[in-house]
């Protein structure tokens, strides 16, 4: 089998972006790639505010998915968040015909009475969007008769890509930000976070950022929306600067707050590796007039990770680092890891960044390209195959074939992948944080563990469970001496 048989695109990020902009390479049915809908991502943002009651103006299915997966499984079970309500108006066939505005108005009043929230946010979904219920007007009306603010987000699942849910939710929250009573000096907001936090955003990464800011003497008003309070959001305009812990998610809110309130926004990527960490911290410290303090912290912190930096450089120099976009992280994180690999003299290749996600993240990807980072990109045919894409089973075999073409390659991504090369485990539960200086230590350890233990076997059981169709367990070679 030649590369032509399984490679759909091989070029650089610019070239891929051009193709996507021209409408090429976007599968029409897109059955192979189904990210969350706008409603779900809007909920992610709002769920990161304490004592908020989301009211889903729709049936129970949309509501239960977000309350079960986001609120209860991720927040209550794994992240110490108390159980708070996720209410809905349970729209039914009759409401589809006659409308559900009256029902929504009553639901808001009821929610206020039952839950005593700091804030109520109405989320529309497909049903209420199509039947034309005016959630914004109802929210406005309801506010007169309840004891808290009531906002509405137009978040119909069909109404935009998954990114638009984040952006619209953040945009709506700006209405809560009050004119500053005073300026909080040397204080920033960290923006672009969700839920408090989600599976792709880790407490430990946030802790590392806050630790570094604290060392420099910079205070944080709010992390929006990672478990922040309504009061913190109200005070959001008092800060001197906004910074994002993920350029992609924070970009829209940062731009909007700059445009509307004149609060500058630090445009930096995720702090993976030394260079990006320096950029991140200086990007915050310089506008606050704290460059000297930041440089002192950077110098001190860098000294403490010199052995790790030296190890990463020695180990990665001259190697090809294949970074795959997969369920542990999306394209922006993959690009950040690739950029870090380049910093340590490796040649990064991004694997299987779906054109659909390029389309969704266009501004952030353009920003990264403008910084001069334009990595090689490979897309395999499996990305476009009609199918469910469970566990990326459509692309495993192609990944394994691709790796055979390189002599000196390291794979960075999910430990559920089985290419015949060192696999650096960047999956969800690998050592955290990955950001900042603690991140440098942890990533160096991950690489070291991978390289030093290369001769240990990978689990055939897990591979066969995940991908099937491989050698049966019974056919395994029995180790000698048994």
């Amino acid at each position: 089998m030649t590369e032509d048989d399984y490679i759909a695109f091989h070029g650089d990020l610019w070239q891929l972006l051009e193709k996507v902009e021209k409408g090429e390479m976007i599968p029409k049915t897109q059955a192979s790639h189904a990210p969350m809908c706008k409603f779900m991502t809007a909920f992610f943002v709002l769920n990161g505010i304490r004592h908020v009651v989301p009211i889903v103006h729709g049936p129970t299915g949309c509501t239960l998915w977000v309350s079960n997966v986001i609120k209860r499984r991720e927040c209550c079970e794994s992240r110490g968040v108390p159980l708070e309500p996720t209410a809905c108006t349970t729209l039914n066939e009759s409401n589809v015909i006659y409308g559900g505005e009256g029902r929504l108005l009553e639901a808001i009043k009821e929610a206020d009475k039952r839950y005593h929230p700091d804030l109520i946010v109405v989320l529309s979904c497909c049903v209420s969007g199509i039947i034309g219920d005016d959630v914004e007007t109802i929210a406005h009306e309801a506010e007169k008769s309840v004891s808290c603010r009531v906002l509405a987000v137009q978040s119909e699942g069909f109404g935009g890509d998954f990114r638009s849910g984040y952006e619209d939710a953040f945009r709506v929250l700006m209405d809560l930000m009050e004119p500053p009573k005073k300026k909080q000096e040397k204080t920033i907001n960290i923006i672009g976070a969700r839920m408090g936090p989600t599976i792709t955003e880790w407490d430990e990464d946030l802790d590392e950022i806050r630790r570094l800011l604290d060392e420099v003497g910079i205070k944080v008003n709010a992390t929006m929306c990672a478990g922040c309070t309504l009061d913190e959001i109200k005070r959001a305009r008092e800060v001197e600067l906004n910074a994002s812990w993920c350029y992609d998610w924070g970009q829209k809110l940062g731009d909007l707050m700059q445009e509307r309130f004149g609060i500058p926004y630090s445009r930096t990527g995720q702090p993976y590796g030394l260079k990006a960490t320096e950029e991140w911290l200086l990007g915050v410290a310089r506008p606050l007039g704290m460059e000297k303090e930041a440089l002192d912290v950077l110098r001190k912190e860098t000294e403490q990770v010199l052995p790790e930096l030296d190890y990463m450089r020695r180990t990665l120099r001259g190697k090809t680092v294949l970074v795959e976009v997969q369920d542990s992280f999306g394209p922006i994180r993959a690009l950040s890891i690739a950029r870090m690999a380049e910093e340590f003299d490796a040649h990064p290749i991004i694997l299987n960044v779906h054109p659909y996600t390029i389309k969704e993240r266009m501004p952030s990807i353009k920003y990264l390209l403008e910084t001069g980072f334009n990595p090689e990109v490979i897309l395999t045919n499996g990305v476009f195959r009609l199918g469910s894409y469970y566990e990326m089973s459509e692309t495993e075999e192609e990944l394994e074939m691709l790796v055979r073409n390189y002599d000196n390659i390291i794979y960075c991504g999910n430990s559920k992948r089985f290419p015949d090369c060192p696999v650096v485990n960047f999956s969800d539960f690998a050592r955290r944080p990955h950001y900042g200086f603690q991140g440098i230590k942890n990533i160096a350890t991950l690489i070291k563990e991978t390289i030093e233990n290369r001769s240990l076997p990978r689990s055939k059981l897990i591979r066969e469970v995940l991908y099937g169709g491989y050698k049966l367990i019974q056919e395994r070679e029995v180790p000698h001496g048994r």
Binding site: T60, C126, G157
Partner: protein, 451 residues
């Protein structure tokens, strides 16, 4: 029953509802995913596909064998209609090696009037598999309604009339309805009992069911409903249309000693194998007693709950039989029974049980998370049989024991454990015992060890 305290919540009257149940699309998806060698195509926006993924997990599906597709409708299709995109996707799916493609609708396309039945009819000659359209918009009801909708279409569209009945045969209905991780173990136990009685299972609606089995459902002499939450309509349809007799009607499902005995005896009577039924009961009951005597050791925590006030917050399938189990086996005193569904036939069974047992708990039908939490606050039980939701809901209350026995739960993920039958009793006792041990495990050490 003396002082009846019954509340009936309904999603059509409640305005502000924190639901336990998913929507009709999810139930329909869970049902069709139980048909082997077929694919599922959701005609809806991309978010709705997550409800199908969720159903996938509840149907014991293998993603290397089952395809789930989605038309991923956007604003354009909502404004101009999505029938073209649906047709295009069906034709693309031609390459799949499947016997049938179930086309499910989400809310959006049903409201804008996409006619999936016509699209499927028009395209049927062009595809090598059977197209089965199911109008399952989420707003049509809960996941249980979705199960009923899907079963109705499956039966009407796929079942062939059969003049010949297979003697001593049964069709099993809706074993999957409560989506609890134990339902596959329950189903397996039912099949073992039937097999020991010489009863043939013609089809299961649905679990790893083949199209051929479904086509032959009408040849079953009897039907056995394995849920108190869904499937009754399918059983009624099979009775009226094909004369399939419903058995074990009106009694709780076989959880606990008495319920299991009653259920097995009913089966034995219907199939005229009372001797076998008696033997199965005798052996089963002895096994439970002897096993627990040996394995329970000196702990026997379960014996410590005499007259402890308890709450049962569950689906009806597990919740109703659990009432008798809690009283008879554990000597608990149920003071709150909150069921997620409110089917009239299930309500009758529960109220008969409550009368028969001589208790007067507060009963909530069709409960939501708010009502559950408030009821738990009001009743203040010491023991709760519930799910992971109640585990978090009681954190601010004084409730020492939460037995996580229904979905969503974080345990019972890999092995198909049952609650039905005699091993089911031991499995439940094990949950109780483990929770008891966790409750009393020291969380902190009083001083540091020296080594």
């Amino acid at each position: 029953m003396g002082d009846k305290r019954i509340e009936l919540l309904s999603t059509s009257t409640e305005r502000c509802f924190d639901p336990y149940l998913r929507c009709a699309l999810n139930g329909a998806a869970q049902t069709v995913l139980g048909v082997k060698g077929c694919g599922t195509l959701t005609h809806g926006p991309q978010g709705c596909e997550y409800l199908v993924y969720d159903a996938f997990g509840h149907q014991d599906c293998d993603y290397t064998e089952v395809e789930t597709l989605c038309t991923k409708l956007c604003e354009n299709e909502i404004v101009h209609g999505g029938e073209d995109l649906l047709a295009h996707t069906i034709l693309e799916a031609k390459e799949l090696n499947i016997q049938a493609l179930f086309v499910l609708t989400a809310c959006g396309p049903e409201i804008v009037g996409d006619d999936i039945v016509s699209v499927c009819r028009d395209l049927q000659p062009q595809v090598p598999f059977k197209l089965v359209p199911i109008e399952s918009a989420g707003f049509k009801g809960s996941e249980y309604d979705g199960i009923d909708i899907a079963l109705d279409v499956i039966l009407r569209k796929l079942v062939k009339d059969s003049k010949r009945k297979i003697s001593s045969s049964v069709c099993l209905i809706a074993p999957h309805a409560n989506a609890n991780p134990t339902w596959m173990g329950d189903l397996e136990w039912v099949k073992q009992i039937l097999s020991q009685m010489g009863v043939q299972v013609v089809a299961t609606l649905t679990y790893k069911s083949t199209l051929n089995e479904i086509e032959n459902v009408a040849s079953a002499e009897t039907s056995l409903l394995l849920s108190h939450d869904a499937g009754k309509k399918a059983a009624d349809y099979l009775s009226s249309e094909f004369g399939v007799e419903q058995i074990c009607q009106g009694i709780p499902l076989p959880i606990g000693m008495t319920n299991t005995r009653r259920w097995i005896f009913d089966l034995g009577k219907r199939f005229e194998v009372q001797g076998i039924a008696k033997r199965l009961v005798a052996e089963g009951e002895r096994m439970v007693v002897e096993t627990y005597r040996r394995k329970g050791g000196y702990f026997f925590e379960v014996a410590r709950f005499q007259r402890t006030p308890a709450a049962i917050v569950a689906d009806a399938t597990i919740g109703i039989p659990l009432v008798r189990f809690a009283i008879e086996e554990l000597e608990l005193k149920p003071e709150l029974i909150a069921l997620r569904s409110s089917r009239p036939d299930a309500r009758e069974i529960l109220e008969r049980e409550v009368d028969d047992l001589g208790i007067s708990p507060k009963i909530v039908y069709g409960t939501d998370v708010y009502k559950t939490k408030k009821s738990l606050e009001e009743i203040s039980p010491e023991v709760v049989f519930g799910s992971n939701i109640e585990r978090h809901a009681i954190e601010e209350l004084w409730t020492p024991y939460i037995f996580e026995v229904v979905s969503p739960m974080r345990r019972f993920r890999v092995i198909d454990k049952a609650y039905f039958g005699y091993n089911g009793i031991l499995n439940l006792l094990e949950v109780v015992q483990n929770e008891f041990a966790d409750r009393w495990r020291s969380k902190e050490k009083r001083y540091k060890a020296r080594w």
